[in-house]
Symmetry: C2
Subunit: 162 residues, 2 copies
């Protein structure tokens, strides 16, 4: 893949996040099944639904660019998910597993936050207003999901300490 222009980079990163969102969509139901806390399970299930709509938003952006929606392998998200799976399988108590899964999910959210942030900056530069609107929708959901995970982590830690 030759990256000659900012437009090429934009498309490359769009494919990267499209691949990442699809991997996350596959992983969230597994995390929900493993969650001990009902609130955490609900959070993962809710974010799975959000991820579906984010994938649709990305498909609309591909359409605007008159490109077929397709992903490119994203080693970053693969590594983050792999690490999360290791923690899930090595945790020996439900509380420790929940804490580890929250941390893993927050690493995923932060990866998406940085990628959407970059895509929005480049999209604005390239004058892709409609695409930027959809990317901002996705970004806002990721920021909210990260915040919710922080709240769940804090309340879980407080519960454990009580």
């Amino acid at each position: 893949m030759a990256l000659k222009t900012l437009e090429d980079l934009f498309v490359h990163f769009l494919r990267d996040i499209y691949y990442a969102e699809k991997q996350i969509l596959k992983t969230l139901p597994k995390m929900a099944r493993k969650a001990e806390s009902e609130q955490l399970r609900d959070a993962f299930e809710h974010h799975r639904e959000e991820t579906e709509s984010q994938i649709e938003n990305l498909e609309k952006v591909f359409e605007m660019l008159e490109l077929k929606a397709r992903g490119v392998t994203c080693e970053a998200i693969n590594g983050i998910i792999e690490e999360g799976k290791d923690i899930m399988s090595e945790a020996e108590s439900p509380d420790v597993r929940d804490a580890g899964m929250i941390a893993g999910a927050q690493a995923v959210e932060h990866y998406e936050i940085t990628r959407y942030g970059t895509l929005i900056a480049w999209g604005e530069q390239l004058g892709k207003k409609d695409a930027v609107k959809l990317l901002k929708e996705n970004l806002e959901q990721e920021v909210a999901a990260d915040k919710k995970l922080t709240d769940l982590a804090v309340s879980a830690l407080n519960r454990e300490a009580a």
Copy 2:
């Protein structure tokens, strides 16, 4: 590795970020050499120095826990760095390479921000005040580095547009 308690998780993530910081320390000089913009080169060089002091901080935390400082392979940072290297080698112009490197470096920063955030929350819960102080120092540097990269990205895009 058995993860039975929150303390086990804390130590595991400490080793994870220690490995990550060491990989980043090796990568930053390569990025500085490839940077076209002088400001970006300076930013990478400055962050290499910060990374050295962050590694020292982590070694102090290991010492506080009476543990030998050692890393565990962090697939997440390996994936993020791998992806950054691909972009660096595929970029066909200096401007595109700089833009791609900034995006790659921001993905690294966000990974570190989420990991330090988690370690700080767990450290507070575990009553490790001195460790938390050092981890907060590292977190603040990562947040500032990320912000600086955003500023550089925006000014580079504006320059290109002019």
